[in-house]
């Protein structure tokens, strides 16, 4: 517990940062790029460290859901613990395993579960991601509800072969004789302010290219619990990415009983008429602010959609929205080339070509490895998204 507390102290943010763009012209490319990168020069009074290392978004909690029973104040990791608790209670075959899950996990997602349900149901694995997932597939095939944890999404690559070649294709290659649908893989995901190359990655695009698995990313505690329970119940292998920056920052009233939020259904958080914004995970909160800024400064009414399930994604909701508004902006932290925004963009232009008023805009991370010192400049923050909104409106 002490370890985790110290770890979470690390993820708390200081005072809000302000970065503004100094005049966008259609100038030469590299100077344009640098102009965008320049930060506002008037904040020299604030301590440099605080200014640089603060969260790039403000968390907007959802209202407490009324239809699932009594609720309790929980943050994201507590919501995950609650979901796992419900699962272990209701399903005698459920087991949770991964690196350091026994004491509660490095992000406290499994605190108390081992004491409550026993060490044969919540146990540690050695340091071997490929082994963890392979083992999980085997356990799932044999009939146990296997919930594997990969400590950081950045470490999932040794298990890539097991996920893509084994888990995703099991049902298909055995002609429905066998499947590993009872497997769920959970992993902390996304930028965290100082994670740098190997603690900030968003690998959903790599897995989106693989039919046979489902990929889900929640935006907050209520969604996380509902979606995680859906993933566990779903009869397909699922990867559940948890935005690590929200573990403590996101606090909501979450139902204590088990409930499910359907997969492959995108949620329209805010209706609008001029522009559709699509994102998932942490970026949804960034875009919420962008929508507010667009309304206030440009009089533009934005429709905000949280995709929730990356694969298979809800094409219908997104396309219906674009037909209505005519403009689409997709945003994610992962690098832009080959990122999931490319898939959405491609499908939407196929389906809604004649409805589009402006080219589809993708505001994503740069095509570089996730930087250490340059993180505030790398991420697609609200200013970059707002700039894209302006461009699309004036197209």
């Amino acid at each position: 517990a002490l370890t985790a507390m110290a770890a979470t102290r690390l993820f708390l943010s200081a005072s809000p940062v302000k970065s503004s763009l100094t005049g966008l012209t259609g100038g030469t490319r590299s100077s344009l790029g640098l102009t965008l990168l320049k930060r506002s020069p008037d904040r020299t009074a604030e301590p440099k460290a605080q200014r640089r290392h603060a969260a790039h978004f403000t968390y907007h909690p959802d209202p407490a859901p009324a239809q699932y029973g009594p609720t309790q104040k929980m943050n994201l990791f507590q919501a995950v613990t609650s979901a796992l608790d419900n699962t272990l209670a209701g399903d005698p075959t459920a087991v949770i395993f991964g690196e350091d899950v026994a004491f509660g996990g490095v992000f406290r997602c499994t605190v108390g579960l081992r004491d409550k349900y026993g060490k044969d149901r919540v146990f540690n694995t050695p340091l071997c991601e490929q082994g963890i997932v392979g083992f999980g597939i085997g356990a799932a095939v044999a009939g146990a509800t296997a919930i594997a944890e990969i400590q950081f999404a950045d470490y999932i690559y040794p298990a890539f072969d097991q996920i893509v070649n084994e888990a995703a294709k099991y049902r298909y290659r055995s002609g429905n004789l066998f499947d590993c649908g009872k497997l769920t893989i959970r992993s902390p995901w996304g930028c965290v302010g100082h994670g740098s190359i190997y603690h900030s990655q968003s690998p959903e695009a790599f897995f989106a290219h693989c039919p046979g698995i489902k990929i889900v990313v929640p935006r907050g505690p209520v969604q996380a619990k509902g979606l995680l329970l859906s993933c566990i119940a779903d009869q397909n292998p699922c990867i559940f990415f948890e935005p690590k920056i929200l573990y403590r920052a996101a606090v909501e009233q979450v139902p204590t009983e088990a409930y499910q939020i359907p997969l492959s259904q995108a949620e329209v958080l805010q209706e609008g008429s001029d522009l559709t914004l699509v994102a998932w995970g942490t970026q949804v909160h960034v875009l919420r602010e962008v929508a507010a800024m667009a309304q206030e400064k440009l009089g533009v009414s934005c429709e905000l959609i949280d995709l929730q399930t990356i694969l298979p994604w809800d094409t219908e909701t997104v396309c219906k929205s674009v037909v209505k508004t005519g403009r689409l902006l997709v945003s994610h932290e992962a690098p832009v080339t080959g990122g999931f925004a490319a898939e959405i963009s491609s499908t939407v232009q196929e389906e809604c070509f004649l409805n589009l008023e402006a080219p589809i805009s993708r505001v994503c991370g740069y095509d570089t490895p996730f930087p250490h010192i340059f993180e505030p400049f790398y991420i697609p923050d609200k200013w970059k998204c707002f700039e894209a909104v302006k461009r699309m409106i004036n197209y």
């Binding site: 110290a6 966008l24 490319r29 100082h194 930087p371």
Partner: protein, 378 residues
Amino acid sequence: LFFILFIVVVSARTYADFTPQASFDIKKCDVHKLEEGPPLQAVLTREEGLQYYRTMQTIRRMELKADQLYKQKIIRGFCHLYDGQEACAVGIEAGINLSDHLITAYRAHGYTLTRGGTVREIMAELTGRRGGIAKGKGGSMHMYTKHFYGGNGIVGAQVPLGAGVALACKYLGKNELCVCLYGDGAANQGQIFETYNMASLWKLPCIFICENNKYGMGTSVERAAASTDYYKRGDFIPGLRVDGMDVLCVREATKLAAEHCRSGKGPILMELQTYRYHGHSMSDPGISYRTRDEIQEVRSKSDPISMLKDRMLSNNMASVEELKEIDVEVRKEIEDAAQFATTDPEPPLDDLCNHIFYNDPPMEVRGTNPWTKLKSIS
């Protein structure tokens, strides 16, 4: 006059009174598939002793300074400190040449120093400044110098790399070898065993070294490994288990291992039994999975710097004042380095996109939206 006399007295004492070298008993190493281990006695000259002392003290002070800077939020991100394990880095370097190659995992500050990095560069890299050894773009886990391949964040991924370097050594025929380090946690990764097989099959000049500090993050070795005899885990690769807190033991074992590799016998595996005083990283207090008493006990009974100091003093190889002087010099060096690391400017923003690919002419990198493209120079 008195002052001059004082200096004369001091110098006379320095050069006339000290034992130039002495022989020390070192612990016997357990061996696996080896005829015999390293000798049970090691010879240490005065110069060597002072050099090891200085280097180990530099590593110690540097890590403690990094701890301090981290708590002040001047260093951010992840920081894995090496204090307690100094004898490993210094002993290994003493057993090989600077022209040999070395690769390790993320607890790399000590090796960056022994492989030729300066404290200034290391500290500036920790704070992410342009004077850093990787130009500020790598951070704590990604430090490199000539013939030192990092500094690797992904656990176990550096071991196959090390075998590759060893292959190049064999191929180029320069009688060099590669020292490939990993920890007790990484010893359970599949790619390590793949590497053992390849290295043994092709008789690569590779010294695999498992730095067993008894804990893989917060998991003790008993709870992670079916066999904690890490020196035997190479199976068909000969191995030895070495006391990693004794710099002489590490040096003698490394010399034996180096000789084994250079004579073309193929890879060899060394387990260094060592201990880290800090937790796994700066976000780990290090006391929730082990007791403070345990840490204290190791500090008082097996601290590598104290062990060397006692040996030198009891054999009259150095004076207390001399060692204190080294301490003062080291402290000053670290202070200067910290000062530099705090005041050096950060890398320029253009650097964000540089060095992704090798490209000539410079290529364009797409930015966060379709209208921004940045230049990447490499």
